[in-house]
Symmetry: C2
Subunit: 374 residues, 2 copies
């Protein structure tokens, strides 16, 4: 196959230059199928969040497995998905400002677009943009179910829903209630309890919507940490997991139903790094620091080298230190895998995925929505 190789495709993983963002293609596929199977069994729609993967390549894998569409966090991400042919996108976040509203509205010419709202002025501006472009935009009222970030309080949802109902250009579809912080509560039991408390907040708003005769066609929320408890509760019509496709150190450590490791999904995302300096027997330096591994969720995890640990050594360096008992050495030029602590923000540092199966590089996928923070 060597004569067909392009940028190392068809060659071994060990030949990839570093730092590089590796995706285990087969583990990714199994994770997508596991979540799809959960959706079929629980009778809930799966709308995976593209803020994690940032590419329509994976979006289409998820849709092919049965996903109802995609979530995006930013208009710029939604543009990549729509341009890539995704037909149903929920911008699960508030959109403010004329430039973004115009961009969002024109996407509705190609795909079914829904957006979260939490302020009457923002909805009015959204409706005006929709009318200007002669499209209809779906709307879900965003409810603060305990996160303390965006969203109206459950008791205020009906008032905003009624405001939406009176506007031309927007169509009220239901409610969103997402709580990011509880996705990472440690311990299955504690996480389940937090998930039920968040669901109860959203349930109050759903009940009020139904009593007021407002649409509840879409009830959306939940993430990779609460998908099971919230997704099987009967409250949600769809759930929004993102990180389950890749996992990361932070998610692996939240604990599962039966053990310390959260094993519902497999780690499928790694950074390949090279030993670029070997100054001491118990300390070597990797070519991967803050610009290769995000640190908002704490340190990354060195794999395959028991007894050696990774710490950030600056923007471009990682310091690998050996505990007293570790036997293996690390040689200049050696390549090692590091698991990111947070997949979403680490992916945002790269322009492409290096996708492998077994020991072979099989594809390079562009991370087209990387950096599209507007």
């Amino acid at each position: 196959m060597d004569d067909l190789a392009f940028e190392g495709i068809g060659g071994p993983v060990a030949a990839i230059d570093t730092p590089a963002l590796l995706v285990d293609h087969d583990a990714l596929g199994r994770n997508i199928e596991r979540m799809a199977e959960f959706g079929r069994t629980a009778g809930v729609g799966i709308r995976p969040h593209a803020k994690t993967h940032k590419t329509s390549v994976i979006a289409h894998m998820q849709v092919a497995a049965g996903a109802v569409g995609q979530c995006a966090q930013k208009v710029g991400e939604a543009e990549i998905l729509v341009a890539g042919g995704v037909k149903d996108v929920l911008v699960a976040n508030e959109v403010v400002g004329p430039a973004k509203l115009h961009r969002l509205a024109t996407l509705a010419r190609q795909s079914r677009i829904t957006v979260a709202v939490d302020h009457p002025d923002a909805v009015s501006a959204l409706a005006e943009a929709a009318r200007h472009h002669d499209v209809s935009l779906g709307v879900v009222v965003d409810v603060d179910v305990g996160l303390g970030r965006c969203g109206v309080l459950p008791g205020d949802a009906v008032e905003l829903g009624q405001h939406v109902s009176q506007l031309q250009g927007v169509e009220l579809r239901g409610l969103q209630g997402y709580h990011g912080a509880i996705q990472h509560v440690h311990g299955y039991g504690q996480r389940a309890e937090a998930a039920r408390a968040a669901s109860a907040q959203l349930q109050a708003a759903v009940d009020a919507f139904q009593q007021a005769g407002l649409a509840t066609e879409v009830i959306t929320g939940a993430g990779s940490g609460t998908y099971e408890v919230q997704g099987s509760s009967g409250l949600f019509t769809e759930i929004q997991p993102g990180s389950y496709i890749f996992m990361d150190r932070q998610y692996c450590e939240v604990g599962g139903r039966t053990g310390e490791v959260y094993e519902d999904f497999e780690p499928a995302l790694f950074v390949l790094a090279t030993v670029m300096s070997t100054p001491a027997a118990d300390r070597v330096v990797l070519d991967a620091g803050y610009k290769a591994l995000s640190n908002d969720a704490g340190p990354a995890l060195l794999l395959d080298k028991p007894g050696w640990t990774y710490t950030y050594g600056g923007d471009e360096h990682g310091i690998i230190k050996r505990a007293g008992s570790a036997a293996a050495s690390m040689a200049l030029g050696e390549k090692v895998r590091v698991q990111p602590s947070h997949c979403d923000t680490t992916i945002n540092l790269y322009d492409r995925y290096h996708v492998y199966s077994g020991d072979e590089l099989i594809a390079i996928w562009p991370i087209a929505a990387r950096g599209r923070s507007q």
Copy 2:
């Protein structure tokens, strides 16, 4: 001028969509000139570090002010500089692996290239690549002056220097001794003391080089926190400051010669963000989180709104909270400036600078070396 506007150029800063990375063009110019003036007065070359700005636009401003060239941390950054016409580049970091060595060697066809080394095998591979491409690569022996990252110990520098001297394809130019951590020591006196201790380590290696008859044509190191003490010591032929052009919250807080704020250079880099949600009177949400403001040096600083403070609210959100006494309110759609805690890693999240003078957007500059971590 409106009819000439392109992407808002010629228009007001307030019209820029967010999150956006703002550069104060005039403050940037003053910072560049201040460092250039220091170099002229102290008789030391200024070789600014492009790991900060990542664009040949600013590199050329620095060279026009008298800089001897540029530093880069990665071959990918050096490629952008050389393609942009920078004629003298020091890769102030170890380069390991055949792909990078070939890329580095071919740059020497266009510009004068120097690279840091700390291992005999790495130098031998470097020399082989240089011979393969029929070029000469300059080399400085990297000395660990206390950082504990890359570099040889001062007592081992001569042995490596002699190894370099025996190889065809590489030319020994001198020594590098850079200590990143001391740049941010709080308090002018303590920082100066730490700088002198690092310089003493490097001096030992310089003395040994001279006794051995090895080249000391280039003695390079120092950064924006130690430029004055190290740059005026007589030890260095050139210094490597990067952040001085922009400053950031971390640098401003290290303390100056006479006060709590380090004022040798002016803040010139900001993130413009929009209030996207106003859920409570004492809490609003910005559209700028971990993907808009790096957090490896702690939280960013909200400007222009006394009594309100910024904390990260996730990848795409910032939570702005009001202390009890703050009078001003913050309205939906309002735009505010946030100072990054660390300029280098925040810049790495953006594809372009929005450059302004006064209240007018005057240019958009590509951050061409963003993400070039290989």
